[in-house]
Symmetry: C2
Subunit: 145 residues, 2 copies
Amino acid sequence: MTVITGLELSPRKVDYLKFILKKGRTVKTTEISSSFKVDPSTTSKTLNELAASGYLNHVPYKGADLTQYGEMYAEFLIRRHRIMSLLLSHYGFSSEEACEEVSRFEAYVSKDAVDKICSAMGHPMFGVCGEITHEKCFHDAQKHG
Amino acid sequence: MTVITGLELSPRKVDYLKFILKKGRTVKTTEISSSFKVDPSTTSKTLNELAASGYLNHVPYKGADLTQYGEMYAEFLIRRHRIMSLLLSHYGFSSEEACEEVSRFEAYVSKDAVDKICSAMGHPMFGVCGEITHEKCFHDAQKHG
DNA sequence: ATCAATGTTTGGTATTCACCCAAATTATCA
DNA sequence: TGATAATTTGGGTGAATACCAAACATTGAT
C-alpha cells in the first residue's frame, strides 16, 4: 500500500514513463534517447534508476517495460498531464500551447491537486491531447514492492 | 530591453525575490535564512548570485534590496503566484491549499501563460493571498543592464 | 573606545538531476 | 561467425541546493 503524492519522480523520469505507457510495449533505449534527443547513455542510466525504484523491468540490451506499479503510476502521469492541459485550454491556450506549458511544470503538481481539479471539472473523459481515464481516481491504495 | 520568459530563476531565487518585495525594504541575510529554514551561508551565496544577475543590490554584512529591474521582475513573480493560486481556488482549493500547491510549480510557469490566464480571467484585482497588480501586464519591454 | 557577542561571508564538501564522451560489452544479421 | 549497430559502464561536467567550520565584520554594552 503506497500513497502516491505525484511528486515522486523528476521531470525526465516522468517523461520516460509517459513515453513508455503511450508505446504500450517494451521500448528500446534508443527509441527514448532519440525521441528526447539525449545521449543513449543518459537514457540507459535513467532507465536503470526507474527499474531500481520499481517502475520498470529493464532487461539490459533488450529494453524496458512498465511493472504493474509503473503502469498504474504512468496512468496517473498521463491523467495529470491531460487534466492540467485541459485546464489551461479553458484559459485561451491552444492544445499545443497547453501541452507545452504543462510539460514544463507537471512534475511538480501533486496528485491531490489533480484529483481536486478533476472532480471540479466533473471527471472529463477527453483532454486536448487524448482520452482521460479515471479508474485509478478513487483508490490511491496500491501495492508497491 | 529584456524579454522576460518567467523561467529565468530557480525556485529558491523566486522565493527570495518575492520575500524581499513583500518586505518592501532592505532585508538581512538572517531574515531570509530563518524564514526559509536554511543555513545563513546558503542564503548569503544565493543573494550574491541574485546580485550578480542584476536583481539585487547586496551590500555585504548590510543586507540586500531589489534593483529597479529586480523589483519589476519580483512584481511579475508575485502576480504569477497570485494568478495561479486564484486559478486553483476556482477548482476547490482553499487559499492555503492553492498557495501551497502553486509554490511547488510556479517557477516553471511562463510569463506568456500567466498573461493568457490573466486575460482570460479579466485581469482580476484580488487573488486569494493579496492584491494583483497589472501595470506590467502589457509591456514586457524593460531595460536590464 | 573596546571587546565580546552576534551576524555574515567564504571555503570546502555533498547530493540530486541531467547531461556528455569514450570505451567496453552484447546483440543481430548478412 | 564476424562486422556493425545498439547498449551499457565509467568517468566527467554543471546547475541547484544544502550543510559545516572558520574567518570576518558589525554592534552594543560597559
